[in-house]
């Protein structure tokens, strides 16, 4: 009697749990033609574009919001919310807004929303630096916005195309207050439905979108941190598009008839920074020696399974302003030893390399440790937590550290200024504490000049000097990728890493 009842209760409970979860599956898990499931490696931090500058958030925000102008997959600037613009003088830009654009809450886009959004952005600690050059935003009537920069700032359009410069609805933000990130309202092709923390974000087609409406009704971003699990999800069909396939799994996707692997060079670079203020890295010969001592090809092979290209300098050919004539450092341990001897370290030295818990970086550190041992440099690896990592590298406590940089705007200014200008020492980006007056001058020139040739020339020269001074070990440009079901059409990778999904549909 008793046990029957207990088991009855237990089995009812079991069935209940099962059905509950089963119900859950029908709304999201189904591979119905109208739902597109995208898997990425982390949960968006915030759907308030001004409160986050992480890739997972940008990837979602890109679908919810629009910016004034937009960079295409080929890094060309195109109209978006602004249908046209003109440069009034060296520091003044005038944007004409598209009329009749609707927000998801039914409000119409007005110039005041643009001003509100950009002002809000300028006050946000996370993203203010992206519009650091902007002095003020003015409006003229409902459809004209005037942006003034503090000084001539050539790459302004590229910066305004950043997802952090998304235009929000003033009313929606004010009404939601602190809770805005749970009720984001934009003008984009998809409107927000729900965000299950740590799990998924669900979006729905916005039928009043000003452009061509989205191909799918529902768009789900799933958070699957483990790379292998994303690939498996693709294989089992629960995922339609998986971003960032693990290098080791690339062949699995390539070889599968039902899947397509899309690869594209990205705007992201990986490097090992030296602390140029600290001995022995204050000696350029040591820095060059280590550049020669590192076998980048081995790193690309081991860590990326070949899915990357060796860096010849700080930025690659996807970035406007890239210097094609640079060839970078060759792997040459003998030369490295010579240089070390020249610098007074014939027997090498002891030092440390820092990394955060990112497995790719940890693996790089392990390889570097082994490779430098060959030239007599004894490296200990210190895994430092991300917060402390940024904090302490900014404070200059480190010897060497591994980091990456994404030139989101596709312009050399974004890729070089923060990393190598002496005004940016520390947390602003220049964690190598590299200082070179000539480079400073060239970078300033590139930033303020509105003559394209002059800019290109300045950047070419700057890259030459930077490579020669070697404040970093230039590692590689990672190829970005996505695994896609073969019945998906209209998907393209964006070099900045956040891909547009409005045109993606099922065949």
């Amino acid at each position: 009697m008793f046990n029957r009842r207990t088991f009855l209760v237990l089995s009812i409970l079991l069935v209940l749990v099962l059905t509950l979860t089963a119900c859950g599956s029908q709304e999201t898990g189904g591979s119905g033609k109208d739902t597109l499931v995208v898997a990425q490696g982390a949960d968006p931090k915030s759907l308030d574009p001004h409160a986050s500058n992480d890739q997972p958030s940008s990837r979602v925000n890109k679908q919810i919001y629009n910016t004034l102008v937009e960079a295409t997959e080929d890094m060309e600037i195109e109209p978006s919310l602004a249908e046209s613009w003109e440069q009034v003088d060296e520091t003044t830009w005038k944007f004409k807004l598209r009329e009749g654009v609707k927000f998801h809450n039914g409000e119409e886009l007005k110039a005041s929303d643009v001003k509100f959004s950009l002002d809000r952005m300028m006050n946000s600690p996370e993203v203010a630096h992206i519009v650091g050059a902007v002095e003020s935003v003015e409006i003229e009537g409902d459809y004209t916005v005037i942006i003034k920069t503090k000084e001539p700032f050539a790459p302004i359009l590229a910066h305004l195309a950043h997802t952090a410069a998304s235009i929000l609805n003033e009313k929606a933000v004010t009404e939601a207050g602190d809770d805005y990130q749970n009720n984001p309202v934009g003008t984009g092709p998809f409107k927000f439905v729900s965000h299950d923390a740590g799990d998924k974000v669900t979006l729905e087609r916005f039928d009043d979108y000003f452009g061509e409406t989205a191909k799918v009704k529902t768009l789900v971003f799933r958070n699957i941190p483990e790379g292998t699990n994303r690939t498996i999800g693709l294989k089992t069909g629960e995922v339609d598009i998986a971003y960032d396939i693990e290098p080791i799994d690339l062949d699995k996707v390539r070889e599968d008839d039902k899947l397509v692997l899309i690869e594209e060079e990205s705007l992201s670079t990986s490097y090992i920074g030296f602390n140029t203020k600290k001995a022995p890295f204050d000696d350029v010969r040591v820095r060059k020696a280590l550049n020669h001592a590192i076998n980048v090809d081995e790193i690309i092979e081991v860590v990326l399974e070949g899915a990357g290209t060796k860096a010849t300098g700080p930025i690659n050919d996807k970035v406007y302003g890239y210097n094609q004539s640079l060839s970078g450092y060759e792997y040459n341990p003998e030369k490295a030893k010579e240089l070390l001897a020249e610098a007074g370290y014939p027997d090498g030295f002891k030092t440390s390399i820092w990394t955060n818990d990112n497995p790719v970086r940890v693996r790089i550190a392990e390889l570097v440790q082994a490779q430098l041992k060959e030239v007599g440099v004894d490296v200990t690896i210190e895994e430092v937590e991300w917060g402390a990592y940024l904090e302490r590298t900014a404070a200059g406590e480190h010897d060497m550290f591994i980091l990456g940089w994404v030139t989101v705007t596709g312009d050399a200014d974004y890729g070089l200024y923060a990393l190598f200008h002496s005004s940016q020492h520390g947390g602003a980006g220049n964690r190598t504490f590299y200082t070179n007056a000539e480079v400073d001058q060239l970078l300033d020139k590139g930033r303020t000049s509105i003559d394209e040739n002059e800019r290109l020339e300045a950047y070419a020269k700057a890259q030459e000097i930077i490579v020669e001074d070697a404040p970093q070990i230039f590692l590689y440009f990672q190829t970005q990728n996505a695994g896609v079901q073969s019945n998906i059409e209209g998907f393209r990778l964006h070099p900045a890493g956040h891909h547009k999904l409005v045109n993606v549909g099922f065949k």
């Binding site: 081991v302 693996r363 392990e366 082994a370 895994e383």
Partner: protein, 301 residues
């Protein structure tokens, strides 16, 4: 973890086992008859020998941590019995060296827990009253935090290295030992030989060390054996989520974690360290169960 409940219950019965030397001989005789326990013991001896002579079997610098990327992700072969990992390192060598860490953490963590927990339990049981109440309520609170979470919290706070790992796992298993020792102290406290010792003027300290501790030994040995197993599991778990020993030192949990990326292409990287854990834990559990039966024959009727 696995058998703590039964052990606690049996504490009373077992306390009598530790009285005479010859009784240990009896325990050994009974243990020898238990085939499963002997298998466990033999495996443990092999594992300990492997750990002790790890450098003689495969040099730490030259084999266990030396990268050989040309030979990476190879499956098991004659040269690399268990294959190689993503840096071309021999997995067998790494497992052996990882075993050193696991066994060391296991033993030291249990040592810490026995020492602190045992002392607290002995004090609580011996003095009783408010002291007892205070100590045991504190232990209850510790028990309310699932032990792996407590260990995680401690390692997070102190930073991940070998010493902190041992400390965290040790601290998080204190309450179990406190309870056991207290229980066995309570059972012997009022027995006649304690009274007799008191009557001839033995100090509390002497009574505790000479009379009470030997009697609490049997249950502590059983719990300790099983506790080493739990500690090894916790170590692997903490390493798995990145709270282990620094690289490039091999540790089973972190080897597993590193292998996850290669689960598809080279599953042996994940499979073998896991098997090493299973074998070790299995051996300790067999031995622990066998010891319990041997120390308490009444249970096995």
């Amino acid at each position: 973890m696995s058998s703590s409940v039964t052990t606690e219950k049996d504490t009373n019965l077992k306390s009598q086992a530790g009285k005479k030397r010859s009784q240990w001989g009896e325990v050994w005789r009974r243990l020898k008859k238990n085939h499963m326990a002997m298998i466990g013991l033999i495996i443990m001896i092999i594992l300990i020998l492997l750990a002790v002579f790890a450098n003689q079997i495969a040099d730490y610098e030259e084999v266990a941590i030396k990268q050989n990327t040309a030979n990476r992700l190879q499956g098991p072969s004659r040269e690399n019995w268990l294959g190689t990992d993503n840096f071309g390192r021999d997995i067998f060598a790494r497992i052996i060296h990882g075993g050193r860490i696991s066994l060391m953490v296991g033993v030291v963590a249990v040592g810490i827990a026995v020492l602190i927990g045992g002392t607290l339990g002995a004090i609580a049981g011996f003095y009783g009253g408010r002291v007892d109440n205070l100590i045991m309520r504190a232990m209850d609170i510790f028990l309310a935090i699932p032990s792996i979470l407590l260990a995680i919290a401690i390692v997070t706070a102190l930073g991940a290295n070998l010493f902190n790992l041992m400390l965290a796992i040790g601290i998080s298993s204190i309450p179990g030992y406190a309870r056991i020792v207290r229980a066995s102290v309570l059972t012997v406290k009022d027995q006649e030989f304690i009274e007799a010792a008191r009557a001839i003027g033995a100090s509390d300290f002497r009574i505790i060390t000479k009379h009470i501790i030997p009697n609490a030994l049997a249950p502590v040995i059983v719990q300790g054996t099983l506790g080493v197993a739990t500690a090894i599991l916790s170590t692997a778990g903490l390493s798995f989520i990145g709270l282990g020993v620094p690289k490039p030192r091999p540790e089973w949990g972190s080897m597993l974690s590193d292998g996850r990326t290669y689960l598809w292409e080279a599953s042996h990287i994940t499979t073998f360290p896991g098997l090493a854990i299973v074998i070790t834990i299995l051996a300790l559990n067999l031995l622990g169960d066998g010891l319990r039966d041997a120390l308490d024959p009444r249970l096995k009727q």
